[in-house]
Amino acid sequence: MIRARQLEKRFGEKRVLRGLELELERGGFLVVTGPNGSGKTTLLRLCAGLATPTKGTLAVEAERGRIGYLGHEPLVYRELTALENLELYGRLYRVPQRQERSGMLLERFGLWEARDARTGTFSRGMLQRLALCRTLLHEPELVLLDEPFSGLDVEGSALLERQLDELRADRTFLVASHEPERLQALASARLALA
């Protein structure tokens, strides 16, 4: 699903990734760890197609609309409600029966009651839950998650773990996390960036 050869990424003079070799098979669950600034987020952005490598090759066998990307930001409009945000993304991502799918995800992530509230009023944890709904809305085959537990409370974290466990069977995951122990049971491989 993902193959990187001698992957390098620079931002000006700063080299973030250097000579990275990576192979992730379809259905795999790769957990990426490393200290701040080691290039975890950059790797995910490269895989999503949001950035281009400076050197080396990166092949991702998933079309643009088949990738689910959860970044540091929720990527939602604060002046729109949770439901409006998901419906907008649902249309752009060609999600069939997007209203039903949006509703189902909001319910699953405990946001149904807040569906008509503007996301500008949401707490950090609620925004993270909504971002997870957005990421999974179009049933992506490749799921890229950058610190998915960030901002989630105990209940939210447990909910996410359950979701990942359910989805793991028919999807490929690349997850960057400072809490790899949470993902130990799910991970098929680990990559430590220095």
Binding site: L50, R64, G65, V76, R91, L92
Partner: protein
């Protein structure tokens, strides 16, 4: 049809955001009115209609610049552009939706500006109104693209006018010409040609602007 549906959804989203945030539109309206009031006092009473017409275009261009500076504010501040760019829709639909919503905002502001100009200076001719409408297309097509380019970099407040103003000069020439001559069709045709050319160029190049 899918492309059009995407453009409609994105335009609707921008209009809804503005309706709720109410930040850019009132600022643009206040700015254009203030500018016209200042020009009213700055321009000597006996000064010609042509000079006043020129000032109308100064007000329109700088009001548009004010609005364009905020065009991508929601995407920039809330980092939403990443989410839109990852969608399988044609990326030019993002530009088209934004350009159309900017056109609507500018036209709404001009609904205030043109009557105000008539009160302060002289009645506005049909050719001027046609010129303003055609100019809006060019301003929004070019401005939306350059606003996207400058919003990604540092010093965007400086970059946007530097990119935008030289490119929009033909629009001002065409707009003033349409209102000032006895043969406005020649200038309106020139504006339509500019709109067509730059709308196609902006539409086609947006993909490269939003890719890193």
């Amino acid at each position: 049809m899918t492309y059009l549906a995407d453009v409609v959804a994105l335009t609707r989203k921008d209009l809804l955001l503005q309706l709720r945030a109410r930040d850019t539109l009132p600022a643009m309206a206040l700015f254009v009115l203030s500018a016209l009031v200042v020009f009213n006092f700055a321009l000597p009473v006996e000064e010609s209609r042509l000079a006043a017409l020129g000032l109308l275009w100064v007000a329109i261009v700088f009001t548009a610049l004010l609005g364009l500076g905020r065009t991508w504010a929601a995407e920039r501040e809330q980092h939403v552009l990443d989410g839109l760019v990852l969608a399988p829709c044609d990326r030019s639909a993002i530009w088209a939706g934004k350009a159309i919503s900017t056109f609507v905002f500018l036209a709404l502001v001009e609904l205030i500006a043109l009557p105000a100009f008539s009160i302060f200076f002289s009645p506005v001719s049909g050719a001027t109104v046609a010129g303003v409408l055609l100019a809006n297309v060019g301003i929004c097509a070019v401005g939306t693209l350059f606003a996207a380019m400058s919003s990604a970099g540092r010093g965007r407040e400086l970059l946007l006018p530097l990119f935008f103003l030289p490119l929009i000069l033909p629009v001002v020439v065409g707009g003033v010409g349409a209102g000032a001559t006895d043969d406005p069709l020649r200038y309106l045709g020139f504006l339509a040609l500019y709109d067509l050319l730059f709308a196609i160029l902006s539409w086609a190049s947006f993909e490269y602007v939003v890719t890193e």
